[in-house]
Subunit: 211 residues, 2 copies
Amino acid sequence: MHSPTKHIAESTVRRLSLYLRFLEEFEARGQTTVSSGELARSGGTTSAQVRKDLSFFGSFGKRGLGYGVKDLISSIREILGLEQPWPVIIIGAGKIGAALAQYRGFTSRGFHVVGVYDADPSKVGMQLGALAVRSDKEIERDIAAHKPRIAVLAVPADAAQPMVDRVVAAGMHAVLSFAPAPLHAPHGVTIRAVNMATELEILAYSLTHGV
Amino acid sequence: MHSPTKHIAESTVRRLSLYLRFLEEFEARGQTTVSSGELARSGGTTSAQVRKDLSFFGSFGKRGLGYGVKDLISSIREILGLEQPWPVIIIGAGKIGAALAQYRGFTSRGFHVVGVYDADPSKVGMQLGALAVRSDKEIERDIAAHKPRIAVLAVPADAAQPMVDRVVAAGMHAVLSFAPAPLHAPHGVTIRAVNMATELEILAYSLTHGV
DNA sequence: ATGGCTTTGTGAAATCTTTCACAATGTAGT
DNA sequence: ACTACATTGTGAAAGATTTCACAAAGCCAT
Ligand SMILES: NC(=O)c1ccc[n+]([C@@H]2O[C@H](COP(=O)([O-])OP(=O)(O)OC[C@H]3O[C@@H](n4cnc5c(N)ncnc54)[C@H](O)[C@@H]3O)[C@@H](O)[C@H]2O)c1
Ligand SMILES: NC(=O)c1ccc[n+]([C@@H]2O[C@H](COP(=O)([O-])OP(=O)(O)OC[C@H]3O[C@@H](n4cnc5c(N)ncnc54)[C@H](O)[C@@H]3O)[C@@H](O)[C@H]2O)c1
């Protein structure tokens, strides 16, 4: 039911994550049922798109009625893999790493920061929320011992690829990087990069060429 | 030459920003000429893709030789609108806003932070790098006076839409938001949102369903 | 139970994006 | 000047994604 044979486009997965956010709002407001049209309006898409996105994974609605809010929340959480907790480590306890380590928005979705690492001895031991910064030398041992599933990289650009290599060698299969550096990893490892300069440049392009 | 009649896909603009990054590396290494194939290899795409992306905007290469690194850098900077400086304001001087305000990576691309604002009186006056945090009450006056072109939002989710409305009313046409909230703006205003939870959820999906 | 109304799920069509493949154009060596 | 070679620029083909449009299914009022 929840494992499509076909490859699913990233845009679909991204929208599912978005729908989940809206569904949680509908739930908080006490709404029990929602139509593809309502969901589409919140998310700036179309009702056909919403139905098509869901149809890749199964059939979740009731014709004439719409989707049960609670049911659809569980279904999407299951599709995305959010029914299990996701231990995450953060590497680089600088300005952005420290902000991320203390950010509470992750936890609500099942992402738990279980370790923060830095190469700078003056940062090691520093308390960030409930966690103390650990030395980067512990990364390999901690990955082996605690099996965090995702590594978030907040290190300088030139340290990013070597760190990807290290965590991949240690068994990590997913990396989210904030460093403005192109990253490569072997097949089977998923890398995502958030590049703020690129986001600003897309805005600059759209301002320059009219909307 | 640089203003296509056709609509250009966001994916193309995103890749242009990426090519620019690689070109700057080639330039730093003293390379004067680069082929679409080399550029493609750095960026994990194909040479045909590189040539097609550029062809929307004109003809920048020499057959048999490739592209002049310096020339292509200026051409892409012109396409993206980066030949002019982009004054930016940051709204919300919390953990992420403070990190962004002190981030030096923006400046190199022509994005200059000209103001940081917060609603919390205890944050107003705080020094972030060269800038002092100002009261959010000054936002409208400062936009009118200094005409920043992009507003970066680092405020809590429920303050995001009201703040979009304020800055748009004050004349802003582009917003980059870090708040996990869906944002709407009138036609003619470009909004981009970086949602870290969604990025992690896409990783969770790909780990859950195999790569 | 029936009929009218609403909304889903989904093939098919339309649109958008990427890849292919090659003529055109230029370089470089002789 | 000629030849061999490299690489661009681009229509056309292939592939991917979105939108359309409608039959099927279920609710609700009577
Ligand atoms: N600050 C921002 O707003 C911002 C925005 C976008 C992108 N980024 C990117 O995020 C990354 C971090 O930025 P920042 O502003 O937090 O920088 P920062 O200098 O404050 O922090 C970087 C941290 O990484 C640590 N580090 C360096 N090498 C390491 C290694 N091999 N292992 C472990 N730790 C190591 C340093 O000791 C430092 O504490 C950079 O790549 C930057 O370009 C930052
Ligand atoms: N910290 C992170 O790593 C992180 C990661 C992803 C997303 N975000 C998002 O970024 C936003 C900011 O996060 P943060 O961790 O910096 O939070 P924070 O609480 O540290 O900072 C928010 C700041 O916004 C200010 N503020 C509130 N209302 C305002 C208003 N109307 N005008 C001006 N300023 C106002 C507050 O005074 C505070 O200083 C949130 O929406 C958060 O969900 C944060």
